[in-house]
């Protein structure tokens, strides 16, 4: 019962938040979005004109021009052009959520499509692959490091966790990528310098997988190096502060082993805040993951955005920002649900 209620309120607040942030984005890009829609309308209209002429539809030139003009007007009407702002706003937001992202100025999807949606969909899986793997790795290893550091307070590990946290806070993710490439790809020449697969890709499932892993190692490593320290530091502080609580002293006084105290009492109590912190860490590291893609020429949305910036391809920038917003929301939402599932207080409805 408790979890169901949690589910409903969380879902409602996330859906509303997604709506709010897309509205914010909309306001922030309003003038450029109108330009993009206008451009897409022109593109669609000229496509339509071409088909009409190619199909020998038996129409005269004047009729074709007329039909194209009507087509374009209908297209623009669908986006609420020449309508008061509230109607325009709602129509265009609905269009965004239906992924009508328009057509790109210059870029193309691998299948040749100029539709922004097709381009973004082609790049999206690679971002999810890299970012999800990286995040899982950081959360798992970071939590472990933080726990071990908290357990051996004052020891070697405990003293080095703040140092890696300093590294985390003062080195840009993309720059670590440069250094790793210079060393492992060009100096030692043992790992590929970028991309997602060799050219040509090796035959067979297993060699293909190994090839992917080799290409993923360095981007993952730079994401990991930059993010693990900060997370371990947070885990350590949380665990240390929980260890000072009275119930921990009581548990120790009852003669429990240190390991049991740590895992049964400290960790269980700290885990909701840990989950919250992981959610924050995921949100905070997202931008870094995108720039890592740029350095390693990893064909994900970060690199797509970079290419779009260099070519001034505004529709692609807007489309990929919108899709990134949805992806991050989904990621955080799933994290929140998992957290709710783990937290006993929510299950019992406290």
């Amino acid at each position: 019962m408790g979890y169901a209620r949690f589910l409903v309120t969380k879902t409602a607040s996330y859906v509303l938040a997604l709506f709010a942030s897309v509205s914010l984005l909309y306001v922030g890009i309003y003038p450029s979005l109108q330009k993009v829609i206008q451009g897409s309308a022109n593109e669609a209209a000229s496509d339509f004109q071409r088909t009409l002429i190619k199909d020998h539809s038996g129409m005269s030139l004047a009729q074709v021009t007329q039909a194209v003009a009507t087509y374009k007007a209908t297209y623009l009407n669908g986006f609420g052009f020449n309508q008061p702002f509230p109607i325009k706003f709602s129509l265009q937001i609905v269009n965004l959520f239906e992924f009508h992202l328009g057509s790109a100025y210059f870029l193309q999807a691998p299948n040749g499509s100029k539709q922004v949606l097709d381009i973004v969909v082609a790049y999206l899986p690679n971002t999810i692959l890299l970012f999800t793997t990286g995040t899982l790795l950081v959360v798992a290893v970071g939590a472990l490091l933080g726990l071990l550091a908290a357990r051996s307070a004052g020891g070697m590990l405990d003293r080095s966790v703040p140092i890696i946290a300093v590294v985390h806070s003062s080195i840009p993710a993309f720059w670590i990528g440069f250094i790793l490439i210079a060393y492992f790809a060009y100096s030692l020449n043992i790992l590929p310098s970028g991309g997602i697969s060799s050219v040509p890709p090796p035959a067979g499932l297993l060699p293909n997988f190994a090839d992917l892993m080799a290409h993923m190692t360095l981007p993952l490593a730079s994401f990991f190096i930059v993010n693990v320290g900060g997370f371990a530091y947070i885990v350590r502080s949380l665990v240390v502060s929980t260890m000072g609580e009275d119930f921990v002293t009581t548990a120790r006084a009852r003669g429990m082993t240190e390991r049991r105290v740590l895992f049964k009492h400290v960790l269980r109590t700290a885990s909701p805040s840990l989950a919250t912190q992981s959610i924050l860490a995921v949100a905070g590291s997202f931008g870094g993951a995108l720039t890592t893609e740029v350095v390693f020429r990893w064909p994900g949305l970060g690199r797509l955005t970079f290419i779009a910036i260099t070519q001034n391809d505004l529709p692609v920038i807007i489309g990929s920002t919108f899709v990134l917003t949805i992806i991050l929301f989904l990621g955080l939402y799933i994290g929140e649900l998992t957290y709710g599932f783990l937290d006993p207080r929510i299950k019992t409805g406290d």
Partner: protein
């Protein structure tokens, strides 16, 4: 009186932290350097930075000069001025010439050759006669030269003259030759193997002849042997000195970091502080607002928005602040919640003290230390965020940023070519400028954190 002594003990405890003190010292040095840069490097340098022609006199993509101390033979730029012009002019023709000699003791040629004729009037032709130590002469010519323009090895007529010389040595037809081959023609041992032989060491004589149809006044003409190393940090592929860029980027980096941190943290502390203080529906609303802020992919958002509203230092800092404030809001909210349950807050409530007064007397003072610690930490986050945006190509117009230099580095494949100086120094500057804030922030955090929970 009591708060004063608390502040003093904060300071005492902070000074105990070695890393914190190191951070403060670094910070003072950074600010001093930054002030020096603001005074010594005028804004016009930023315009010049975007103008490739301004850097023609520098060698391109060469390492710092100090690599010479590490066993690398990397000669530096040599300017050969042509001063003593001799010649004659009549009513219909004029010819002048000047010579200069230099001794080359390096095992490698320079990276490029730049001929800069300087004259007033109309010149038909500039000829350079290059006499090598073995006495062989190479002749290159420039037809209808423009005064004050530098002609280097990519100039077609110079390349043509050098190809002819190589052909005269190898007795084979050469279709094309790169800068390395052109330098071989000028510097290598002659013979059929000229393209692969070693550099001739000794005295070279460069004679420049200028021919015109009327009397010319010649001055300041020069031939420059562009070096294989430059300055303290080398140059990029346009010949721009990295050390200048690295220095010029400092004030902007600090400004964007400090501005975004102060606005973001103060905003976030009020945001979260008020949420925790009010509780109830206002807390729910404010916390939901934080969720919106956190779940927005800020980097992509700012990029998209920058296409609508061109960025300036101020707008960029504000945007970064808006998207970082929720992260601090969450922390401030949890601190506030722990203060809320204290007895003195209950007492205020019982005595009918106004909510605003309670907030300003009890909550804000206890939020202040956290605020200061997080501002310090947030400056580094702001610097890195600003440089990351610049690295992606989003930066205000006419500023020099380290991210922008690194953007050029990746565009020109610096790591593929092994131009390490182009990548290393801007990156180190990002670290050096954000590190003191991190050190101070962590030290403050350690001083502040136990107090907050103890109170």
């Amino acid at each position: 009186m009591e708060t004063q002594s608390t502040d003093r003990s904060y300071l005492r405890e902070f000074l105990k932290s070695k890393s914190g003190v190191v951070g403060v010292v670094m910070l003072v040095l950074l600010i001093a350097t930054s002030l020096y840069v603001i005074i010594a490097i005028p804004q016009s340098e930023a315009y010049k930075w975007q103008n490739p022609a301004a850097w023609q006199g520098n060698p391109t993509s060469v390492p710092p000069a100090w690599v010479n101390y590490f066993g690398v033979d990397a000669p530096q730029t040599v300017d050969l001025s042509l001063n003593s012009w001799a010649g004659s002019s009549s009513s219909s023709s004029a010819a002048y010439s000047a010579s200069v000699s230099f001794t080359w003791k390096h095992g490698v040629p320079p990276s490029n050759l730049l001929v800069v004729p300087n004259f007033s009037g109309n010149a038909y032709e500039v000829d350079v006669i290059w006499t090598k130590p073995d006495g062989n002469m190479v002749q290159i010519g420039l037809s209808s030269p423009v005064s004050g323009i530098g002609y280097d090895l990519t100039t077609a007529s110079i390349r043509q003259g050098l190809v002819q010389y190589i052909q005269s040595q190898t007795h084979t037809l050469i279709e094309s030759v790169g800068p390395a081959g052109e330098l071989a023609a000028l510097f290598n041992d002659d013979g059929p193997n000229i393209l692969n032989s070693s550099v001739q060491q000794g005295t070279y004589i460069v004679t420049v002849q200028v021919v015109g149809n009327q009397a010319l006044s010649l001055s300041n003409s020069k031939v420059t042997l562009l070096g294989d190393s430059y300055g303290t940090m080398g140059t990029d592929s346009e010949g721009r000195p990295i050390d200048l860029g690295v220095l010029a980027g400092l004030p902007w980096g600090l400004e964007i970091g400090v501005l975004s941190a102060v606005v973001g943290v103060v905003g976030g502390v009020f945001w979260g502080g008020l949420a925790g203080f009010f509780g109830g529906w206002r807390d729910k609303l404010l916390s939901w607002g934080m969720l919106v802020g956190i779940a927005i992919p800020s980097l992509a958002f700012i990029i998209a928005i920058s296409y609508t509203f061109p960025l300036t230092l101020l707008t960029e800092a504000l945007l970064i602040a808006v998207f970082s404030a929720p992260f601090f809001g969450i922390i401030a909210r949890s601190v506030t919640l722990s203060i809320r349950s204290q007895t003195y807050v209950e007492a205020d409530k019982a005595m009918g003290v106004s909510a605003a007064r309670t907030f300003f007397t009890h909550f804000l003072p206890r939020l202040t230390p956290v605020t200061i610690a997080f501002t310090a930490l947030s400056v580094s986050a702001g610097i890195i965020f600003g440089e990351t945006l610049a690295f992606l190509g989003i930066e205000p117009a006419n500023v020099i940023t380290w991210g922008g230099i690194l953007n050029d580095a990746i565009s020109f494949d610096a790591s593929v070519h092994g131009w390490w100086w182009w990548v290393l120094f801007p990156g180190i500057m990002i670290i050096v400028s954000s590190l003191p804030f991190v050190l101070v922030g962590f030290a403050l955090d350690r001083v502040v954190a136990p107090r907050v929970s103890a109170k």
